[in-house]
C-alpha cells in the first residue's frame, strides 16, 4: 500500500528491523528520494519567495561574524606561516599571489562551508527536527499545504545561494588579514598587494571556487534538512539531527573537496 506521507517516525516503526547493510541501502534510497523530491518540487510554482529571502538573510547573518573573524585570522596566520619558507628562497614578493590563490582556491570555500555546516547545518537540523517531533510538519500536511516546499526547498536553495556569496566575502576578509601582515612585515602597499594577488588568480580559479561553494552549500542545506525532516524519537532525535547535520555535512564537504581538487586539476594541466 502506497504511503501518502513521508512521516519517518511512523515508517521507522512500521518496518521490521533490517540488518546493517539493508539499513544503509534503505537510508541511501531515502536520501536519493529526498534529493529527487527537491529537484522535482523546488523549482515549480507556487514559490515561497518570502521564506527563501528570510532564509538567505538568516543563513548569511548567522554566519557573518564568525566568518569575518575566521577569515581575517586565517589571512594573517597563513601569511605569517608562509613567509619564512618563501624568505629562504628570497621570494617573499610572491606572498600576495600565494595568499590570493590559496584563499580563493581552497581556504575560503572550505572554511566558509565548515563554519556554515556547524552553524547553519545544525540550526536547520534542530529546527526541522523539533518541528517534526512537535507535529508541526504533520499539521502543515493535514492542512493541505506542502511542508517540503516551505521548509526544505527554501532552506536548501538559500544555503546554495548564500554560501558562494559568503565564500567570496571570506576570501576578501582573508586578503585584508594578509595585507595587514604583509604591509607590516614587508611594507608592501595595498595597491601593489592586490595587484599581485589578482594577477595570479585565473578565471578558472573563480569558476572552480564558485562551483565548489555551490556544491558545499547544497550539501549543507540538504544534509541539515534531511536529518531534521526525518528525525524521530522526541527530543533525543532533535539533538541527534543537529549533531548528524554537522558531522555528516563536514564529512561530505571534505570528500567533495578532494574530488573537486582532482577534477579541476585536470583543467589546469
Amino acid at each position: 500500500m502506497k504511503n501518502k506521507t513521508d512521516n519517518p517516525v511512523i515508517l521507522d516503526e512500521e518496518v521490521k528491523r533490517p540488518g546493517k547493510l539493508s539499513r544503509m541501502f534503505i537510508t541511501l534510497s531515502d536520501v536519493f528520494q529526498f534529493m529527487g523530491r527537491f529537484f522535482k518540487e523546488g523549482f515549480l510554482p507556487p514559490y515561497e519567495g518570502k521564506e527563501l529571502m528570510k532564509q538567505c538573510y538568516d543563513i548569511g547573518y548567522r554566519s557573518l561574524a564568525l566568518i569575518s573573524l575566521t577569515g581575517f585570522i586565517t589571512g594573517v596566520v597563513f601569511t605569517k606561516q608562509s613567509r619564512p619558507s618563501l624568505a629562504e628562497f628570497g621570494a617573499t614578493s610572491w606572498l600576495p599571489s600565494l595568499v590570493g590563490i590559496a584563499l580563493l582556491r581552497t581556504l575560503a570555500p572550505l572554511l566558509t562551508s565548515l563554519i556554515a555546516a556547524g552553524k547553519v547545518g545544525s540550526s536547520i537540523g534542530a529546527e526541522l527536527g523539533s518541528m517534526r517531533v512537535t507535529e508541526q510538519i504533520d499539521a502543515m500536511e493535514v492542512s493541505a499545504t506542502n511542508p517540503f516546499k516551505f521548509l526544505v526547498s527554501t532552506r536548501v536553495l538559500a544555503a546554495t545561494i548564500t554560501i558562494p556569496i559568503l565564500t567570496f566575502y571570506t576570501a576578501m576578509v582573508g586578503m585584508l588579514g594578509a595585507l595587514l601582515n604583509v604591509s607590516m612585515s614587508e611594507g608592501t602597499s595595498a595597491k601593489l598587494f592586490f595587484q599581485s594577488s589578482l594577477e595570479s588568480i585565473s578565471f578558472l580559479d573563480i569558476t572552480a571556487s564558485t562551483i565548489k561553494a555551490v556544491i558545499f552549500g547544497f550539501t549543507i542545506g540538504m544534509v541539515g534538512c534531511y536529518q531534521g525532516y526525518n528525525s524521530s524519537k522526541g527530543t533525543e532525535g532533535v539533538g541527534k539531527a543537529a549533531n548528524s547535520s554537522v558531522v555528516i555535512g563536514m564529512f561530505l564537504i571534505f570528500i567533495e573537496e578532494v574530488v573537486s581538487v582532482q577534477f579541476f586539476g585536470l583543467f589546469r594541466t
Binding site: 504533520d138 493535514v142 493541505a144
Partner: protein, 254 residues
C-alpha cells in the same frame, strides 16, 4: 445538538481496519462510522490506538487492512492530489496544538489560508483571520507568539487555524489533555460551539469522561483494538464490564 438534527448520512465509515507497528497490533478490525453533524467521542486507554485511528483518517498513516471512507472517498486509494483536496474538508486539531512556533498567531492562521486560496486579497485574509480568532475569543492575541500563550489558548488557536479552511469534519486529538478543569470546560464549550456554528461533524479522541459527556452525541470505546461498546454515554458505561468500569470509576468517583 439534538438527535433529530444529526443526519443519518455517513461522512466517515471505517470497516475492518487493522494496523500494526512491528509486532504490536494496535487496531484489530475496527468498525466505525460518523454521521453528518454528529460529535462522536472515541474513548480508550493510552496506547490503544485512538490517535492512530484519526491519523489514518487524514492519510498521515496507512492502514494494513480494511476500508476507510471519508466523505465517500477511500483515503488509502486516492491520489495525493485528491488527498490534498480531501484534507481541506477535514480539520485536525493536534494534542499539543502543533502551532508553528516561529510564526505569530496571525501568521499561523494565514499559513494554510493563503496557500490554499491564493486569490484572496490581503484584506480578505486579514478579515478571515480576525473573524476566526474572534470566534475562539482570542482576537487580542493576534500578534503574539505561541510561546507567549497558555495551554488553553494554544488549543483554541490550534482549533481556529483548523477552522479557517472551513472543514466539514473536525478531528480533535485529546483536546483537554494537560489542561486545568476550568479550561477543560471552556474547550468543551468551544467544541460544542464549533459544531453549532460551523455545522461540523467531529470525532473527539479523549480519555476525559467529563469531556466525553459534555460534547459527545455518541461514545465509542476502544477496547483491545476494537470498538466493543458504542452508544450514548449512559449506554456505554451502564455495564459491569471490568475493562470499562475502572475507567468510569477513576473519572467520577476518585
Amino acid at each position: 445538538m439534538t438527535k433529530e438534527q444529526i443526519s443519518p448520512e455517513k461522512v466517515i465509515e471505517v470497516k475492518g481496519l487493522y494496523k500494526s507497528f512491528g509486532n504490536y497490533h494496535v487496531l484489530k478490525g475496527v468498525d466505525l462510522h460518523l454521521n453528518k453533524r454528529e460529535n462522536l467521542v472515541v474513548l480508550g486507554k493510552s496506547g490503544t490506538g485512538k490517535s492512530v485511528l484519526i491519523k489514518i483518517l487524514v492519510g498521515l498513516l496507512t492502514p494494513d487492512q480494511g476500508e476507510v471512507l471519508v466523505l465517500n472517498q477511500h483515503v488509502d486509494r486516492i491520489t495525493y492530489k485528491e488527498l490534498l483536496a480531501l484534507r481541506l474538508k477535514v480539520g485536525f486539531s493536534f494534542q499539543n496544538s502543533a502551532l508553528y512556533d516561529s510564526m505569530t498567531v496571525r501568521e499561523n492562521l494565514e499559513f494554510p489560508l493563503v496557500r490554499n486560496q491564493r486569490r484572496l486579497t490581503k484584506g480578505e485574509v486579514n478579515s478571515a483571520v480576525e473573524e476566526m480568532l474572534d470566534a475562539v475569543g482570542l482576537l487580542h492575541t493576534i500578534n503574539q507568539m505561541p510561546s507567549e500563550l497558555s495551554g488553553g489558548q494554544r488549543k483554541r488557536i490550534g482549533v481556529a487555524r483548523t477552522l479557517i479552511l472551513r472543514p466539514e469534519i473536525m478531528l480533535y486529538d485529546e483536546p483537554t489533555a494537560g489542561l486545568d478543569p476550568i479550561t477543560c470546560l471552556e474547550i468543551n464549550s468551544l467544541i460544542n460551539e464549533v459544531q453549532e456554528r460551523f455545522h461540523t461533524s467531529s470525532i473527539i479522541i479523549t480519555h476525559d469522561l467529563t469531556c466525553a459527556k459534555a460534547v459527545g452525541n455518541r461514545v465509542a470505546m476502544l477496547l483491545d483494538g476494537k470498538f466493543e461498546r458504542q452508544g450514548t454515554f449512559e449506554e456505554v458505561f451502564n455495564t459491569a464490564d471490568e475493562r470499562v468500569k475502572p475507567f468510569y470509576d477513576y473519572n467520577f468517583i476518585q
